[in-house]
């Protein structure tokens, strides 16, 4: 063998062996961390549990290796079930549930291991090929081709099983939970319980982790208690590396899935998750390839830790928006320099010129060529069919969308096209989502107090002085809100009540901006409340604010000064 052949092969041996073993942990992350959005800390305990049960079964009970791993998986399932009972039945916070279960498992593991249990002469799955006296002992190094082949077969089988499960209708329900709220309600619509699928993911995930723990202990020759949260961190980092490379897999995945040889396997051709599980395994292998390389080149291990932590921060961090934000700032500076020379004739409160917007990754524009102006105190409405971009336009003006694709946006004569922050403070925006703008844990009264307080409240001055309170009270009284509503917590409000609170929130503000943007203000309201909201809007209008309304739901006749109509842009 060449001079570099042996080191490279030994590096590959070490990284693939551990990489495959720890991909049990990353595969479990696919189920828990990715699909049910559950950061499962139980892993720290169930990994050692798997090792402990397997070693105990083989050494103390004299069982064979396969039974030992099966028992380990059963124990891991129980651990997952315990965590899901904590989290879903007792409704303990997910992270805390995992910590509690891992804490408990430490005790269980201690009982079995106290604190280490070597396999000794027991024939484990991984030692039956070669033990201390290596049969394969080439170039003075130990090699593990047979062990790697065995673990590869086991992992490949596990992956295919997971893929089949995820591709099935059952898997469809489970994967729906990746969108926590939407998925849960979709599952409930079918008369099924989201918690069932969550428990399943936790149980299966921890069974996988326990199997990994059992096999790792067999590789190391003993089950050891004190592993802390190392496995958890390793699993997360390896999983993230896998997700990073996932997007480069389609070529491989698609050709693989499209191959005729595999087409007979039900549904595999459509499998996106084929990529996900492959990425999980590759991530683990790549992680250990890096670690193995670092140790071989003499990189200090302390530095490895720092580099890995920074890598995760770099990966999870949102860099696109940083570059976008700095680009925005540059444009803003240019705009303000340009605006300094010429002052715009500040006739209107809002002026929109040739505005177009396109959602990132969307194939077509949300709208194009929108141009209109709104005078002070004017009331105008936006009309258009569904999907014509009415809400997008409002959100753009309100500063919730950073910048248009083309065109200009002037508020009070100032060019704020690239100043979303300024647009945010110069407008008041009522979103279609009634719950969006309120603090759910506050009572209605607290929410109103928050809206009414003059910002920013200083610590030195009592935010809710007697004077402020009495002003608040009189304002609430003038709004005609019944006292029963005031004491209610916001999350207990009905949709209509929440919508009413949003309008009240505007009405009660001490300083109202000159431009008010209302997106479907009559959503969810009954006839009586429609009248009240209409009169509140009129009252706000009477205070001199210009108002732009999108209103599809209820025909309320305001004295609209103008109507802006949007048409969906043609597909390009």
């Amino acid at each position: 063998m060449t001079e570099w052949g042996v080191p490279v092969l030994s590096w590959a041996d070490a990284s693939i062996y551990d990489g495959l073993l720890y991909s049990f942990v990353t595969l479990s992350s696919v189920l828990t961390f990715k699909y049910i959005r559950f950061p499962d800390v139980t892993v720290a305990g169930s990994f050692v549990l798997g090792a402990a049960v397997a070693a105990f079964a083989q050494v103390r009970m004299g069982l064979d290796g396969i039974t030992a791993v099966a028992l380990a998986m059963a124990a891991g399932s129980l651990a997952g079930l315990t965590t899901s009972a904590f989290a879903l039945l007792l409704r303990i916070d997910g992270l805390l549930s995992g910590v509690l279960c891992a804490f408990m498992l430490y005790g269980v593991n201690l009982l079995m291991l106290r604190p280490t249990l070597p396999y000794g002469n027991a024939e484990t799955l991984l030692s039956s090929f070669a033990r201390t006296d290596r049969t394969i002992d080439l170039a003075g190094l130990a090699w593990h081709p047979a062990e790697i082949a065995l673990v590869f077969v086991v992992i490949a089988a596990t992956k295919l099983l997971l893929d089949a499960m995820l591709a099935s209708e059952f898997g469809l329900f489970l994967r729906a939970l990746e969108d926590d709220a939407g998925g849960a309600s979709a599952i409930r619509r079918h008369g099924a319980s989201p918690n069932f699928y969550k428990s399943f993911a936790l149980v299966a995930g921890n069974a996988l982790v326990a199997a990994g723990g059992a096999l790792v202990s067999m590789r190391e020759g003993a089950a050891t208690l004190d592993r802390g949260f190392d496995v958890l961190i390793t699993g997360i980092v390896a999983f993230i590396i896998g997700q990073q490379i996932r997007e480069f897999l389609p070529a491989i995945g698609d050709s693989f899935a499209g191959s005729r040889a595999l087409r007979f396997m039900a549904g595999l051709g459509r499998l996106r998750q084929l990529k996900v599980t492959t990425a999980a395994i590759l991530g683990s292998t790549l992680y250990f390839a890096l670690i193995a390389m670092a140790y071989r080149t003499g990189t200090p291990p302390e530095f490895v830790r720092i580099a890995i932590a920074l890598y995760v921060a770099l990966t999870v961090g949102d860099f696109k928006s940083i570059s976008q934000r700095s680009w925005l700032r540059r444009m803003q500076k240019q705009a303000s320099r340009a605006a300094k020379g010429k002052h715009f004739a500040a006739a209107g409160v809002l002026e929109v010129c040739d505005l177009a917007y396109r959602y990132p990754k969307a194939g077509r524009d949300a709208f194009t060529d929108v141009a209109f102006a709104l005078g002070r105190g004017e009331l105008a409405r936006i009309v258009g069919t569904n999907g014509s971009g009415k809400s997008t336009l409002l959100r753009l003006i309100a500063g919730l969308i950073d910048a248009p694709a083309t065109g200009r946006l002037l508020i009070d004569g100032q060019d704020l096209t690239f100043a979303p922050g300024a647009r945010l403070t110069k407008t008041a925006y009522l979103s279609q989502d009634a719950r969006g703008g309120i603090v759910q844990t506050f009572t209605v009264e607290e929410n109103l107090a928050l809206a009414n307080s003059s910002v920013p409240p200083s610590l030195l001055r009592r935010a809710l002085s007697r004077k402020t309170l009495s002003r608040l009270e009189s304002l609430i009284a003038s709004s005609g809100t019944d006292a029963g509503l005031l004491g209610k917590t916001a999350r207990d409000l009905s949709g209509g009540e929440a919508q009413l609170l949003n309008i009240l929130d505007l009405f009660i503000r001490t300083r109202l901006p000159d431009l008010i943007l209302l997106d479907e203000p009559f959503n969810n309201l009954d006839a009586q409340n429609v009248q009240r909201v209409a009169s509140l809007i009129s009252a706000i209008h009477a205070r001199g604010a210009a108002i732009l309304i999108v209103n599809h739901t209820v025909p309320v006749d305001f004295a609209y000064a103008k109507t802006i109509s949007l048409r969906p842009a043609p597909p390009q």
Binding site: S127, G140, E220, Q244, I245, F248, M293, Y295, K320
Partner: protein, 332 residues
Amino acid sequence: MPVLDRLGVVRFTLLAFALLSTTPLQSCGDGPHSKLTPRKTIVIDYTAPHEAINQIISGFRRGIASNADFRDTNIVEMHASGDSTQYAQVISASIAKHPDLLATITTPVAQTALQMKPKGLNILFLAVTDPVGAGLVPSLDRPGAITGVSDLAPYAAVLNLIRILRPNARRIGMPYSPQEQPAVFGRDFIVSIAPKYGFSVDDVPVTNKDELPTLLATLAGRNDILLIGSDNSMFEAAPIIVKTGIDGHIPTFAADSTSVKAGALGGYTIDYELLGETGARQAVALLAGKSASDLPVITMSEGVLELNRTTAAELHIQFPLELLKKAKRIYD
């Protein structure tokens, strides 16, 4: 999870580059020595730097350097910065350096190394309390593929010290934690050797620390001596154990510095530098071609004598002059 964008490859490459670029590849040449005498290489693998581990390594280095035949041995240290998922990686990378000897510190590192041992490689373990229980050797006298040095506390020396200071003592009361393996192992060891020194051991497991005061009072009432073993929970409880003893006019002995400092009358503790030096003697024998199975595992029978003069005064005990002379640390 945020948008996973095309920057992925760039970031991954950056990580790989950062990990690999910090230190130049270690040169393979052995320098001027290589032609004349084949220079030996020893790799020491351990979990992470730690006071006791650092002392072991410095003792080991000193031991190797003082040997005429192997003084120019190249000693490389590798650790996993405490990450238990990387022990196997550290050992694999160490073996790939083709050392003449692989020294491991602590039990899990030794277990993993044994599992990954190529035929020709000498492996030495250091600071393993119970090599037989950890599955490293079939017996201390006839080890198998590997050998080493145990860090079992010098209990025999402690019992000897008790005999010197309390010639008439018969019964030793010993609280211990049943959940700690070194504690249980230490208890078993003391029970087995105590009759040789004329003691009987009244050992009581402590499962609930809240019950410790009651339990200690009972122990002090029916024994002549209290003894603290290698037991983390009992180290923590050392102040109350010592105080209960003094209240009952009986001394406490220990096998660790923490407890003597906390008021135990005296004890013999492990000298980790000496442990490293002892390990170096084993290493030299292995390098010289001896087989591991012919080198019995060494247990540190000699420890460092530590005494507490404050406690002695409280119990009206006078330390013999020769003990004071021998003592490495005396707490006042």
